[in-house]
Symmetry: C2
Subunit: 609 residues, 2 copies
């Protein structure tokens, strides 16, 4: 057996005090709604028939005549009715006197989730009947008039059970799902956070919001790009994966500081927690270096961070790609926790099994006894004299478990990185919370390799990110001798183990760009001749970044899936379950685009259809 | 000959004092940049290597050490150099002393449009050498160090002549065109105006910015929708013309106040001044009526209007569709001018010719003499006794010319409306400015018909706008008897003769929606079953509007084409001339989408390919 030249250690956890995530309730929304607008509260009732929102009423409104519009959430004994709008809930008293028979009839007969308009007076609840759990719990509405604006048919399920239903059902009736507190909170927080980002970029730092086309040309090697047939036979547009080329051209055009909340497209077929269309905060600047972009983004996140979370601390720590791989076994380490303390001996068996099942790898655990004897099958392979040095290197303490791995560096690191997360899962099922959901650990990962060996032919190179990434200034000489060793000026932003952004300083020199495209990457430069030409005509040095908005908002809101922060997401198979999208098209409507369907002939595909 | 039962009059002009459009110059940009940010000036030099922008330097900066980055705009006698960035121009003194030989070499040898970085001191220009036409004309830069950041190859044309070149050339080298003052001004004004709209909607009025999908389902009858093949055989997404269905579903979902700066798609083949993708300010509200939406939009435009224009006066005047057609011969009247005073007798001939050439119609001019005799061939057909009444009706005065038209009402009105614009063109070539480019005349046009007879089969009806438009409350009873007479709750916003927005109160009653779709429009309701179902489950009353952003910015900036307010527009044939888009795709890349190209077989189409 070959003895590992390299040892990886699963890091010792620094257990932090764990705060529970606040359970969202109707009413906390009203506070968070004013996130970005400290200077003024938005008028939620301008231009409409209501005078107030249901959720905003308090004791300070006592005696006011109000008109409210909302959905019937709940009715009790034909006496009380709880009315809901996006802002919250309010209790309405159904009048019992004979003169109000028509109002009573409307309010008692309307099915749940019907939309009504009521006018009346804000009054105190009788002493002892206040509801301290409800933000409007001190008051209720004494109704004078009521109007049924729209009756609700019997729903296929109780609305209050709806969130417990399968996701497919929630997506099919998305318009009902959107009425939930959680979806309202997520979408409104997203809107507010993006608004603050715009404020920061546009008003504070002079960025220009520029829309770039989505009907564009296929990128060289751009698999995963949706096609759009044009009316010219055989000619297609392509929906780009990012505005990369356009934002660089804007820099050449002197636009200087560009941003866009950009819709992007990626056709990856069926992948869980990916969407065929997604949104990125797309940024590019001229005359900037890596530090400049990083400071900009740190400021951006600090400025736009929701007020109901702990403030973002800047600057973010930074780590090289090599260091991240060596110590965390991944280029997107979750730095909320180290590793590890709490494994029991029987857990080791499940880790060995996980490793064998998922990676076809043998794990060799080392148990250190109080006397520092190595209780491990691997002990035989390590000379007695070397052991104290290894123990020192690994900073092990009594009762520690060390997982050793032998093999090719990157693969071994990667496996240990996955095991680290697996161990965290394991420990969290035991009630040890390692990954505090209220904690946001940002990390820059830098100095990525510029190229990677192609998977299908490791003797050829491909861009680790994209071909416009500039090489690290210290490594430029290696481009002509050992290009595989060149580091890039690419940087990733990682949050809690998720890549939420990535960018780079770009190549602004046409010759260098041509050399990399043609000689190193062997791409057809004709497809990018407009870029090469643009670099020749006075392109400034420039760089940028893109933040994945859906993922970021997903993490900020603590949502289990990015589908919970998108109003109308596609299912993991790329379907809109509400409208049955994608759908068949009659052949005559394909004619103007000079295409026809190639129906699969093999029985399997035909069956799938 | 049939005597006209209806008379249309070309309105008498109220000649207003004409202000000239300000010729934009570099430097007025710096003032307009702070449009939306009165409360704070953006920091244009944060995070980057420069200390200041070229355009911001004034006498107040005298003595400061500055670092500037920019393009070489101009060089004179190897002594002066004019440096340009997005903010403006500044004069740089090339040092002549021997010790600065390397700096001089850089600055004297760099080709025009090269990018340089210079550091030096802000000094006064010598007495008498100030340039009052240049915002930075009191100062210049005494350079200490200079660096060539990127050399510019010889351009295919002089950059200062560039704007005079053909539009095709400008589009091919769009990144150079973007360096022009005009494009910088247009794109920055667009960004600022949209930012203020967002501020108004989001921060002042509690709207939620929600992104809706662009990979959607084909709309019933939705020709002009681009298709996107999916990986399922025969199944296609469609790029929607607007987020109409989604915004209504958001209202059903209780999102209450939605807006989005939405990318929309329309495949109209080759049409001048249309783009296959365009942007609309898309808005929807619950519990609102027509007046509410109109007030919202008036406030929105007033709030976001650029400070360098006259303020927008609200409320906007309103006119019914019938009135607009009868008096202006169009549903989008240019109300900046009435009609008419200045026609000469020989102009009548050219109007007659225009009318004959374009509409195959005969025009009968009536010249009123001082004695009010009708000097016109039409005089014979009008009884002498009726003439004074007609003159009174038409409010004619001495020397007036009246153009009479006989025929079907709508067609006659439409022709006269076009003649009115033709007359305005004619008069403006004579130097009479009727359509003041600095004047912005907004107008609501309301009470459109709900349905129109289908062109191909006038006994069937189609929606005048879209099938979700609510009927006018006074006309609902006619739906079941004379649907063609029903007016709608649709409204258009017109600016200077251009439709810049349109919207409506929507149908929120499922039964009514079903009746209109199935019985009146004979649509396949299965394609919209999700909408009908949503209306059944507690849909609130709602309405909205969409503003065409490209057209609006085009009018605000006084640009000749919407291509001048879009960073990377398509040509009128839908091509991106810079990158050669759309482009061919290798057949193997079509395979995953189960499509193949149907090559045209006839020789003509084959030749076109």
């Amino acid at each position: 057996m070959y003895l590992p030249s390299w040892l990886s250690q699963l890091y010792r956890g620094l257990s932090r005090p764990i705060r529970r995530t606040t359970q969202p309730i109707w009413g906390s929304l009203s506070r968070s709604l004013v996130l970005s607008s400290q200077r003024r509260n938005p008028e939620f009732s301008s231009f409409v028939v209501r005078t107030n929102t249901c959720g905003e009423l308090r004791s300070s409104h006592l005696g006011q005549e109000v008109t409210l519009c909302g959905w019937i959430q709940y009715r009790r004994q034909n006496t009380f009715l709880v009315l809901r709008d996006f802002h919250g809930l309010v209790q309405v008293i159904i009048p019992q006197d004979e003169s109000a028979a028509s109002v009573r009839k409307i309010l008692c007969e309307a099915p749940m989730e019907s939309v009504v308009q009521v006018s009346g007076t804000v009054i105190s609840r009788p002493a002892g009947q206040e509801n301290p759990k409800m933000p409007t719990g001190e008051i209720e509405i004494k109704v004078k008039t009521a109007e049924l604006l729209n009756a609700c048919k019997k729903l296929p399920f109780e609305i209050k059970d709806f969130m417990k239903k399968t996701e497919a059902l929630r997506l099919q009736y998305r318009y009902l799902d959107l009425r939930s507190f959680q979806m309202q909170y997520n979408l409104r927080l997203r809107s507010q956070m993006v608004m603050k980002m715009r404020d920061y970029l546009c008003n504070l730092h002079g960025f220009v919001d520029i829309e770039t086309p989505t009907l564009f040309k296929r990128t060289p090697g751009g698999a995963k790009e949706f096609l759009v047939p044009s009316r010219e036979p055989g000619k297609f547009y392509s929906l780009p994966q990012s505005p990369q080329q356009f934002k660089q051209l804007l820099m050449v055009g002197g636009l200087d500081r560009y941003f866009q909340v950009a819709r992007c497209y990626r056709d990856e077929g069926s992948r869980p927690d990916r969407q065929p269309e997604f949104t990125q905060i797309d940024i590019e600047m001229s005359f900037v270096d890596q530090t400049g972009i990083q400071s900009l983004i740190e400021g951006l996140l600090q400025y736009s961070w929701p007020n109901d979370k702990d403030p973002v601390v800047v600057p973010f720590p930074s780590m090289t790609f090599a260091e991240a791989l060596a110590t965390y076994g991944t280029d997107k380490p979750d730095t909320r926790f180290g590793m590890k303390k709490y494994l029991k001996r029987k857990d080791i068996e499940s880790i060995r099994k996980f490793s064998a099942d998922h990676f076809d790898q043998e794990i060799l655990p080392v148990f250190l006894n109080t006397n520092r004897n190595w209780n491990s099958p691997v002990a035989n392979f390590i000379r007695e004299s070397k052991r104290p040095e290894l123990i020192r290197l690994m900073e092990t303490q009594e009762e520690d478990v060390v997982l050793l791995m032998a093999g090719e560096h990157n693969k071994a690191c990667s496996l240990l990185g996955k095991l680290r997360l697996e161990c965290a899962d394991l420990l969290e099922t035991r009630g040890v919370v390692l990954r505090d959901p209220t904690l946001f650990s940002f990390l820059w990962v830098v100095d990525f390799p510029l190229f990677l060996p192609k998977e299908e032919n490791p003797r050829e190179l491909e861009s680790a990110h994209h071909p416009f990434t500039a090489p690290h200034p210290s490594d430029i000489h290696l481009l002509y001798t050992e290009p595989e060793k060149v580091r890039s000026q690419h940087y990733d932003l990682v949050l809690n183990g998720n890549e939420i952004g990535g960018g780079s300083i770009r190549i602004h020199n046409a010759e260098l760009q041509r050399y990399i495209l043609a000689t190193l990457l062997k791409e057809d430069v004709k497809l990018l001749s407009h870029i090469l030409q643009a670099l020749d005509y006075g392109a400034p040095p420039h760089g940028g970044i893109a933040l994945g908005l859906d993922r970021l908002i997903c993490l900020v809101t603590g949502s289990p899936s990015i589908r919970d922060v998108i109003a109308f997401p596609k299912s993991f198979r790329g379907h809109d379950l509400m409208s049955n999208t994608p759908d068949s098209i009659p052949p005559e409507e394909l004619k103007p685009y000079h295409i026809q369907v190639s129906w699969p002939t093999d029985s399997k595909a035909a069956k799938a259809h």
